[in-house]
Symmetry: C2
Subunit: 333 residues, 2 copies
Amino acid sequence: MIETPYLLFLGDAADPLAAKVAQGIKDWRPEFAVGQYRLPGCNADLGLPELSIAEAVAKGVKTLVIGVANRGGVISPSWKSVLNEALDAGLDLASGLHNLLRNEADLAVKATALGRALHDVRVPEIAYPIANGRRRTGKRMLAVGTDCSVGKMYTALCMEKAMRETGGNATFRATGQTGILITGEGVPLDAVIADFMAGSIEYLTPDNDAEHWDLIEGQGSLFHASYSGVTLALIHGGQPDALVLCHEPGRPHMRGLPDYHLPELEALRDVALIMARVVNPACQVVGISLNTSAMDADAALALCAETEKRMGLPTVDPFRHGAGRLVEALAGL
Amino acid sequence: MIETPYLLFLGDAADPLAAKVAQGIKDWRPEFAVGQYRLPGCNADLGLPELSIAEAVAKGVKTLVIGVANRGGVISPSWKSVLNEALDAGLDLASGLHNLLRNEADLAVKATALGRALHDVRVPEIAYPIANGRRRTGKRMLAVGTDCSVGKMYTALCMEKAMRETGGNATFRATGQTGILITGEGVPLDAVIADFMAGSIEYLTPDNDAEHWDLIEGQGSLFHASYSGVTLALIHGGQPDALVLCHEPGRPHMRGLPDYHLPELEALRDVALIMARVVNPACQVVGISLNTSAMDADAALALCAETEKRMGLPTVDPFRHGAGRLVEALAGL
């Protein structure tokens, strides 16, 4: 678990997209986003207070989060003086980059000497159990997609926001690096050893109050040849009461797989439900989340209406239209 | 890749079942099984020549394989003098135990000094790629099961034997520790990192001659809450042209999951086929393999006939009746 709140390190981000991890933290956990730290030439700006390391410490910051992705996922030499200064000043460091903080000798030595934590959220830090399949108390929603990167994390986060705004008892459960940095905890599922995948999700979503909802971030797709095993482990470890189908209209092919078309929503609905009912016979598909970010407002609404009619399920772009109708669809489960 | 042939170390096996890895090697790769080495009190006997380390070396043995499972999967202190002697005499060591050869300091130091290999087949030794889903040349059969440990490895091995006996071009592809020790190579899929599972199976079953069959050992079950993700990665990485459904009649519940019933063969057929056709639209379910080892001969034959009629697919216990009918069912694919 990463200590909050955060100072968001934007480094020398080439453009706003390079700082999307930091943007996600600011959007979804604004209470964690105390300030930003930018280097000369940084082309991203979250509009947060620009804080020095000392100012951040004075404001109660506990962790400097590397909220920027470099080409190649490396820890840039130009960042090093700031990262070392942060450790010296009493902050932990957190990163989702491929290259690990712990493998930078200077940072590792200093962190050990000073008792600071280096959180590399790509790497599991827990010995997860093998899944036991036992029914747990509380309710769970899982976002499943026609493809990777179609908005499963945003769907779960939007639903959490909508539920909390109406007094609901809900927790977003992160299963990927960005989600883990946003919330400060979670399972980096793509890095878990095969035998423990489903068990890691049982661990992530334990027994809870009867009316509590875990809103579980999905990963991959049952129809994605590279990552489908991860998705099925999420379905069986997550034991969902509700599935929300996520889709981005207009994709020419599956992400990274030029030979593969996306499945129809009907096919996703049918096979995800068969698999989910192995562990939870009461599971229902409750709604559809479309990522319409590439469409104009009218076209987005028209597509949602058309999809809703075809599928007989509430259909929204939760980031654009709010997730209220998806949350309403959970009532009674 | 483990160098062959082998000296099979049976240690102080409590009973024949404890030496089932060695038995599997003798059954399926008799040309690798040059001799056995037993300690006082050993209650297993493969009927192979009893060889000293020196005699094994003289007969061309390259690797001593620990073919026995201890309680807890540990490397027993009483084995150490033999293992050290084997290294001194020029043999490599191979083991599928949970406790690793490489973590035994004396063995690790000696192996490094002498240039011997310590093969811990539970641990992947290759950085597998992420699956790319591209169609490969050659043919592939995958054994899928209603549960874990229902005979998927034996089914694939029996089919390999039957195909080779009739001049066919076929290769058993191991995906678990016993299979890897039998053949000397394979992927320990349950220990692969989630993101690379399907890619490891693509790596295991590369382009091949048009008429060559890879006979892929299955793992887990799409219906097993703990391990289903591994199974789906096998289906999508394996790109099967043919599926054989494997089942053991009479199980009261899924292995290790007392709350879960086994699925019907029809359910397995339907969902496995949907998933396999994502990567290979021509995939067919070609037959059924029943593990009837707990039944008498007449009951086994009757159940096969009844299942064959119900499912409309060739149904045999390949270990008992031979795999010829399953192999015939591959013709024309």
